[in-house]
Symmetry: C2
Subunit: 163 residues, 2 copies
């Protein structure tokens, strides 16, 4: 069994096929996430991306002084040009404000406005219902496992992206 074989073995072909299905499911699930998630919070004029930004800003660590754009970029892993546009819409909607920081004049702190805090709080019921419905068939153990696997996939993809 020590022969050299440059053709894909049967197991390699199966792995390739599974990888194919895996990325198709990721593609489908992502589209469904945006479609259903935006519908779930549409009452508040929000989208899934804006939901993600509000969620980042409402975390305890960010609650007091907000986050810099750079920190938000690292958290969400999107391009700066994209985030700027989302922040513009959130600022226009009055949910977020950009404030200059004392120590370093280059930095801006993105913070929830009081209206942003209220809106985020009001959205919580819809978000909870959304999670409950989407994950109805998932024991908590499976939620954790899916999170861990997606986290590793994210790491693998980030390595390709190179940033």
């Amino acid at each position: 069994m020590d022969m050299i074989d440059t053709l894909p073995s049967a197991t390699d072909a199966a792995r390739f096929d599974t990888a194919n299905r895996l990325f198709l499911r990721l593609y489908q699930a992502s589209n469904l996430l945006h479609k259903t998630g935006t519908k779930a919070v549409s009452h508040y004029g929000a989208t899934t991306q804006q939901w993600a930004v509000l969620g980042a800003l409402s975390r305890p660590a960010a609650r007091d002084h907000g986050l810099t754009v750079k920190e938000l970029l690292a958290f969400l892993m999107v391009s700066r040009q994209n985030l700027t546009a989302v922040l513009d819409r959130l600022e226009t909607a009055g949910l977020v404000e950009r404030t200059r920081i004392a120590g370093d004049g280059r930095l801006r702190h993105i913070r929830l406005t009081s209206q942003g805090v209220d809106t985020w709080r009001a959205m919580q019921d819809s978000i909870r219902t959304y999670y409950d419905t989407a994950l109805a068939d998932f024991p908590t153990e499976d939620v954790v496992q899916l999170f861990r696997l997606l986290d590793r996939l994210k790491t693998g993809l980030a390595r390709i992206a190179g940033d």
Copy 2:
């Protein structure tokens, strides 16, 4: 232990938090998929979505007569308006053709052109390398498990979408 408690329990809060992280990872992984995937096949002027369409059309079942738009919609789970635009670009690039079908005049079969077949074949090396790199840390067993979990998540989200 039969008391009624309307406040979220500690385990409920933990599950909610994990769900939050899970969907953030899905969001990040999806963006990275499009970013790195498009880069991987950019040499062929393609994107991840076009890659998905070409992959669907090159499956053995679709190889002979192609797929109808409706079948492609069901496979990819995207909106008709979105798919039309992608097909337009693929048609302009000469990789795909729309042909009327004999039996039912309403249907159109989307098929790979011979150039589309060649391009798809040429892309295989890049795709294989992409999968290998992205899933370098994944034993095949984990690839299968992630696929299964994403498939179930897709099902849960599709239930919300209602179609």
